[in-house]
């Protein structure tokens, strides 16, 4: 049932009605607003009791797979455990109640957290400056490419109108380049999963604004010739953009800044375990090298001394200073690409990332990469031994790896989609399917470091079971799922007979 089907004209939750104004005088409260400005009929919203709402949404929630209930090896998404303390501490009343425009005297506790977060993110990425304001990976990408553009423009270098993007790149990369007013040129991948250097050399030129790379790439392998790529692009006058979605794989092992990247975004909702929340919110904090510092989006938290001079961590004086934090804005960074949000981004998500990072600490960061990588390689080893085909069998897996079911699709008529749906029946969320596009019938599998060997072994068992089923009774697999609240849903009909809102008429 839909919540609207529980609705009944005239019902409301009395304990939630505000005090000042009762039913009658609500109209009186609006008497100074001209009738022509007022709403004539009440909006279509459900009229239910609080119990009905709680019951409805509690039951709905049970129709979701989630990390808290299932193994969720969705490649490129880093579905690791979201520590519950991150949630409860970020939701302390003091944090929730703070207005974004509260003056600094009521904000030092909050701002100190953001400042420390900025510093920690600089340290793990090897960048010189960080802005926390982008609200998801894609907005971080936008900020990054916009900074590249601002950089070229600031130098009067106005001919550069092209961003290079490997064919394996995530869809947000080309889409971002377009949003920033660039053209996109795709660079092919070689047989081992690395960028085709020959092709890259041919592609760069005075029109090259930059390149967007993910490393490890979305193919689940580390781009080994990254320094060469960097020098090719830099020599052509372009800048290097790092898509940080896969940072989990290299945390504490190697830093984008050291690889030669000029600008990066991080997906705090992946690497730093803020929740995905059924689609968001995330945070796409950006980091930059020295030359892009002036262009960072605002606001940023700065540490200032008594004379309001902004201090940096490198500043020898900083230790002795009474701590005070304030927002750095367009006045402090006149070349900034500006603001990306109404206030300062997804503050509550930043708190969660901070809490998580403090609990990881210096020792915990590289362990994330260690065990994420161990889990992926273990799964790859076991699954290939069980008869699955790895897309890049000669490579190390990073924190994720790709299987291709091309063979099975051909011989058994069971494609990746069917395979994925059948895994749901076994109580496992499916890996990412059909991405990256260049590997046919692929499953991108990312177990994350927070899953145990025992869980991985159960997953291997389930994969093998599905494979055996695909061999013995393929229709069982192609008609999956069978044990979920609904069976296979008709996507085509959804897109054809658009039904995007409920109405009483039906």
């Amino acid at each position: 049932m839909l919540i609207f089907e529980h609705s009944l004209e005239g019902r409301h939750t009395a304990s939630q009605m505000p005090t000042a104004v009762d039913g009658q005088s609500a109209a009186a409260a609006l008497e100074d607003i001209p009738a022509g400005q007022l709403r004539k009929s009440k909006p279509l919203l459900p009229e239910v009791s609080e119990l009905q709402a709680v019951r409805h949404y509690t039951r709905l929630s049970q129709r979701n797979f989630s990390i808290d209930t299932e193994f969720y090896p969705l490649g490129s998404c880093t579905m690791k455990y979201n520590p519950r303390a991150c949630n409860s501490l970020a939701m302390l009343p003091g944090f929730l109640g703070r207005h974004p425009y509260a003056p600094p005297r009521f904000s030092q506790g909050f701002m100190q957290i953001l400042f420390e977060l900025q510093e920690m993110l600089k340290a793990v990425t090897g960048m010189r400056g960080v802005s926390l304001t982008p609200m998801a990976g894609a907005q971080g990408e936008f900020a990054g490419v916009a900074m590249i553009r601002a950089y070229h423009e600031a130098r009067g270098d106005n001919t550069r109108d092209e961003i290079l993007v490997p064919d394996a790149a995530h869809g947000t990369n080309p889409a971002t380049a377009i949003m920033c007013g660039y053209k996109v040129r795709e660079i092919p991948t070689d047989a081992e999963g690395d960028v085709d250097l020959e092709a890259l050399r041919n592609a760069v030129g005075p029109q090259t604004a930059g390149i967007m790379l993910t490393n490890p790439s979305t193919l689940g392998v580390f781009e080994r010739r990254i320094r060469e790529i960097a020098s090719i692009v830099h020599q052509a006058g372009g800048l290097l953009y790092y898509d940080g979605a896969n940072l989990n794989a290299i945390l504490g092992k190697v830093r984008p800044g050291d690889m030669g990247f000029d600008v990066i975004h991080m997906n705090l909702h992946k690497t730093f375990s803020t929740p995905h929340g059924g689609g968001g919110p995330g945070s796409g904090a950006v980091g930059v090298s020295e030359r892009l510092l002036p262009f960072l989006p605002v606001p940023i938290v700065g540490k200032v001394n008594k004379e309001d001079r902004v201090l940096t961590l490198k500043d020898p004086a900083i230790a002795g200073q009474a701590e005070a934090f304030r927002w750095l804005d367009e006045k402090d960074l006149p070349q900034s690409i500006g603001r990306l949000s109404g206030f300062m981004g997804n503050a509550g998500i930043l708190l969660r990332a901070y809490i998580y990072m403090r609990m990881l600490g210096r020792q915990g960061m590289p362990r994330v990469a260690d065990y994420a990588t161990l889990n992926a390689n273990y799964l790859m080893a076991r699954l290939t031994r069980q008869g699955f085909d790895a897309a890049f069998p000669k490579r190390r897996a990073t924190h994720e790896f790709i299987l291709t079911l091309k063979r099975q699709a051909k011989t058994l008529g069971v494609n990746t989609m069917a395979f994925a749906k059948r895994l749901l029946d076994k109580g496992f969320h499916a890996p990412t399917t059909y991405f990256p596009l260049l590997v046919p019938e692929c499953l991108l599998i990312e177990p994350t470091e927070t899953e145990s060997k025992q869980e991985l072994d159960r997953f291997v068992d389930a994969m093998c079971e599905v494979l055996r089923e695909a061999e013995a009774s393929p229709e069982l697999v192609t008609s999956a799922p069978h044990s979920l609240p609904v069976r296979r849903l008709d996507d085509v009909r959804a897109a054809k007979d658009l039904d995007l809102t409920w109405s009483a008429a039906g």
């Binding site: 400005q37 979701n64 009343p93 869809g171 929740p275 990881l360």
Partner: protein
């Protein structure tokens, strides 16, 4: 090892299965000279007990002043059930619902959300959220340019009565695509977008006119006339609205003769705590004809193999993961969890709850204004109708007054001087339904003292 479940035995067995001797070997494809072996700047790990105490201390340090600032973020009561249900693990720790059959909870909820938002805005369709109100406006501008078949240019009329940060943010985002934002001034008497100023653009090629209702000053724009002007000039009308206000105000879908074409705004007032500015969410609704130009996720109802109702992400051919460089936007992750909370909020409050909350907020602000204008040195800046927020002019420097009030634990409002120097010592004030009689008194007393010091 925080959050890592492996025992030493596990590790050994796993290394053996991989055929290597140490975890470090797994990183042997990384060029040696790039490897790092320590992160000296990162503090040592602290445990949950320690971070708990630290966060309590930091939160307490910022106290809880009595807040009369609005300016785009509004303090409303949120029923306890809202976030208790929204943060259930199944909502909190799931991903974007790509695997529809394993995500019916989130998908049905979004379908319900879409219905509620179209109910509030009077529009045909809604997406599943964008980042926030400001970035939603930039997306609306880009969408308006794509959707307006009658306009060939990229010129947008942007009144200065629109939230200045929204304007700045939109500018930053759309300028790269060569979009031009043309300012339309407001009337100094009414605070409203001046129709005369608009008429200067009669007949020009304008892709869209943006109208914020209530506008940044809290004043109520003449939305019917503005909408009709836009349509008469082949421009689309992009409405920026406070969704809480729509519980009492005429919805964009009914503005003028044909209604707004796109409505967007910030969903924060509907169940998101102030939370230092986020996470909130941007909402976007439009006329059915434009749905294929809309950015963001959209959920549709369909049937399963047995003919039972079910929900899926639909019209994905608009999105970056399918269309890549030809997508309507680069957005991927949105603000799902806040939408979840907001949907539960709307279900619990219902039309009556939203109506009364909006009405009570308005009444409180009006009562406060009445008290304040009786203080010497305080006057209202704009005549005419407003909704739950309004501009005052003081006879002393606003920053000094605010600082004095802050000494008493009262945040007196938002200083307009930076964005609207022409208004003098102007202060934007808002008192939502959370404020009691005693709170209003406390404000008035603090302001009196600050002005008479």
């Amino acid at each position: 090892m925080p959050f890592i479940p492996h025992t030493e035995n596990d590790v050994q067995a796993m290394l053996a299965a991989i055929g290597i001797n140490s975890i470090d070997e797994l990183f042997d494809e990384i060029p040696g000279e790039l490897r790092i072996h320590d992160l000296p700047e990162i503090p040592a790990a602290i445990n949950e007990m320690e971070i708990t105490r630290l966060m309590y201390e930091r939160a307490a340090r910022d106290q809880s002043p009595l807040c009369f600032i609005g300016a785009g973020a509004y303090e409303h009561h949120i029923p306890a059930a809202v976030w208790q249900v929204a943060t259930r693990g199944e909502f909190y720790s799931s991903y974007t619902p790509y695997q529809a059959e394993a995500s019916q909870g989130t998908l049905q909820l979004i379908y319900e959300y879409q219905t509620m938002m179209t109910g509030l805005t009077g529009m045909d369709v809604s997406n599943a959220s964008l980042y926030d109100g400001a970035s939603a406006l930039s997306e609306a501008v880009l969408m308006g340019i794509r959707a307006n078949r009658k306009s060939r240019g990229k010129r947008i009329l942007m009144p200065t009565s629109v939230n200045p940060v929204y304007r700045a943010c939109t500018h930053g985002i759309v300028k790269n695509q060569g979009v031009e934002l043309i300012e339309v001034p407001y009337s100094r008497d009414t605070g409203l977008t001046a129709l005369e100023a608009l008429e200067r653009h009669d007949g020009e090629d304008i892709a869209a006119l943006v109208v914020q209702q209530p506008n940044f000053f809290g004043s109520l724009e003449e939305v019917d006339a503005l909408t009709d002007w836009a349509h008469a000039n082949n421009a689309l009308l992009i409405a920026v609205v406070n969704p809480m206000a729509l519980a009492v105000l005429k919805p964009p879908g009914q503005w003028g003769g044909q209604g707004a074409d796109i409505a967007c705004g910030d969903g924060q007032p509907l169940g998101a705590p102030l939370s230092s500015g986020g996470p909130y969410y941007g909402f976007m609704c439009c006329k059915e004809a434009h749905v294929r130009q809309m950015p963001g996720r959209i959920v549709g109802r369909t049937v399963d193999a047995d003919g039972r109702q079910g929900f899926v992400l639909t019209l994905q051919a608009r999105e970056q993961h399918i269309r890549r460089s030809k997508a309507t936007s680069n957005i991927c992750t949105n603000q799902g969890l806040v939408v979840t909370a907001s949907t539960i909020y709307m279900a619990i409050m219902g039309p009556e709850g939203l109506f009364r909350t909006a009405a009570a907020s308005h009444a409180n602000t009006r009562t406060l204004l009445q008290r304040l204008v009786s203080i010497a040195g305080v006057e209202r800046v704009f005549a005419g109708p407003f909704f739950h927020e309004a501009v005052l002019r003081l006879n002393r420097p606003v920053q000094d007054v605010l600082a004095a009030m802050a000494d008493e634990g009262v945040l007196g409002g938002y200083a307009l001087g930076k964005d609207y120097p022409e208004l003098g010592e102007a202060l934007l004030v808002c008192a939502t339904e959370t404020k009691t009689e005693a709170d209003l008194d406390r404000y008035a007393a603090a302001l009196s003292r600050a002005l008479s010091d």
